[in-house]
Amino acid sequence: MSTPVRRIQFGVFFQGVNSSTVWDAPESGSQTDFESFRRLAQTAERGLFTAFFLGEGLRLREHLGRLHDLDIAGRPDAITQLAALASVTERIGLVATQNTTYNDPIDLAHRLQSLDVLSGGRAAWNVVTTDNAWTGENFRRGGYLDHADRYTHAADVIAIARRVWDAVPDNAADGLLAVLPDPFRYDTAYYSVEGRGVLPRSTQGHPVLFQAGDSAEGRDFAARNAEVIFSAHAQLEPATEFAADIRARTLAAGRPADDLKIFPGQEFIVVDDASETEEKVRWVREHQITPQTAVAFVEQLWGAELPDLDPDGPLPSFDPVQSITGETRGAGFRATKAVETARAWRELSQERGWSIRDLVINVSTRRGFAGTASQIADELEPFARTGVVDGFNITPWLIPGGLDDIVNKLVPELQERGIYWTDYPGDTLRENLGLREPLTRRSAADVVATVPEAATVP
């Protein structure tokens, strides 16, 4: 039996905070003007991207107790920005990363549902669970949550959101409710709230749930609750392992194995001529990891300023002054065991003959896809054949032009090979992702009926 060819989908992750966006190139535009967001979203839609994705970080990053000044910074509120983008796009999904710890669940559910209705059923919520007291200093509800409880707490928040979204029946048409739903109470260890469904359902039922988190608890949480997982495993081998793990967890959660779509974050560097690839990749990496960024990266692990450190020289010969890294430089660099990591880095650098900057480039940047459109398409074909990912969430290294080559060159190449769609299959994000009904709205019979189909998934 021949393996059915699947399609690869694309999302775009407008980073907004990170060293991965090259800001010092002449083509680099504003990182915060609405125009940059509009251009990227409309380019993505021209390329038939499934989703436009905004991250979130609720405190400005700090480096050794002072504001971190090397990376791009200044992100809009995701839901508000996506509401603005909803009226200048038509089909692309609008994914808002929203934290479960520092939001009131009914308020958050109301805003997400508002976006979903406003956009004609294109909204999604990427559930993240940052829980530290440092971020909490910006909120009424501060550092109240133990890290170990982040997912039981998040499950509570999602349960409340679903109560809000499912409160109004589908047949409430024409803006009139036959009966105003009764208010509901929700009382658990974390919440004691009283809500009421007041909005019509969107055309996709309710917002699609994404999840980003990589621990075992995070994966189980996704398997129980999410519809798309935003993963960090984009190379074929780790992606294959990750998919097997996620599918096992999804089945264990009583869902069809293909119920949870997988979209790793990934960077694409497209060139016109294969001979340019190496030089272009080096150029991008050196603009992402400037000498100052390389030094700051080492300082972050060492927990101290290292003013005399030469980015082209070796790592410090002494050990870090801290045992564990802190919370202030984002989720990618939190709670790392400092001394062990420093020793491993030192060994790796000696073995490979790497300077500090080489090392930082290698440990902190992604191994993205690089080459001509045709070479990248070759690399993507095995993903389409095996179905270990459903798509890639592209993190452009340039704003706002970072999708132009992908949409103009790579997408047509993939379309020619039959592994990328030539039109949006539907109007809602749920349809375009090929998702079933929201989990709360399936009968047990629906789930059983879909299992044989799902069983063909490798």
């Binding site: 809009p76 920005q81 603005a84 009226s87 200048v88 009424r140």
Partner: protein, 395 residues
Amino acid sequence: MSRTFAVIVELDDDLRTDAPASAIVRVARASERAGVTAVSFEDHPTAPGAGAGAASRSGARFGRLDATLRAASVAPITSSIGLIPVVHALYNEPFHLATQLATLDTASLGRAGWIARADPDPSIAARHGRGPLPASAADAELADVVEAIRGVWDTWEDDAVIRDVATGRYLDRTKVHYADFVGDRFSVKGPSIIPRPPQGQPVVFGEPGSAAELDAVLLDLTLPGRDRPAAHLNASTDSTIAGAADLPELLGRATEAVDAARTRLAPGTLIVVQLGFALDSAGLSALDRLADERHHTRADARAIVTGDPSVLVDLLTALARVADGVRLFPASLEPDLDELGRAVLPGLRARGVFHSPLAGDSLRTSLGLERPTNRFESVAPDPLASNAQTLEAAR
């Protein structure tokens, strides 16, 4: 700045449509074409009239989509009108409100305002898992929220993004500050996660008696002691209907109320009078329209001016001498918005009391408000540096 009279129209959406987004876009565009200064978006996060007894009411209307999001959704498809959502500010996270409003201001290129509301409705507190604040504490809380939000907006100086290739610095961290707001019930560390909005501070509207720092206050124009012609009105409102004959009385009341408010307000605070209206349109008299059940009115306890558009022109022309603007509540959106654009605003322009905002104007510019300096801008501009620039320019 020259004194201008602002005409703000409330676009409370009537979600009796399967496509609320296209309805919002349609009325926002119509308002911009009409040339109004700004549009506002009412809000109530729980169902309208969701109090006791409402549960079994059949034919109840849906609630409203979040007002800030409605305003944001029309930001990129309009270019001159101000966008003013109502924001319930007692229980939400002030940090989130600050970044949401800054995002609205950024997406609209400086056209955001907001109506800071302290609503006593206990259902709003309950959805946040809180007990309602006693009335005595609510305004102090609102004042704290407004202060915290203003502080968060200022945490980035306007020129904090430097993109200095030589030193590798994207930000000048000496120009990004901690808000360090500490109130009775909450604190906010800061800085913001989004740069200072284009207007510096989006325009803050509120109630005249509030302790909050406001740019503009909203003052209801009422005609109390009137017999309410109940037959003409939706039973849930206490509005009174006013016609041409009532103009002198309305104006007298407005003058009194504005003068009284003026004495208590910080100098420079704008006073905006709130008024319902229903105009004769397409051969149908406003009173007949009001009597028609399908056209419920959205004004509460406010005078509704009815009649020929010239009645409203006369009233607003006179009001322009005492107040800084008007927030109009159309009894039914489409015909009244039409009449406003067709007859009322041209009439006001002809009398020289109103001009429409131009594409690219900020809401502050349209209202005649200065762009505020940043509270964290500690260092005054170096006089030597500006001398040097002058010398440079003179060369």
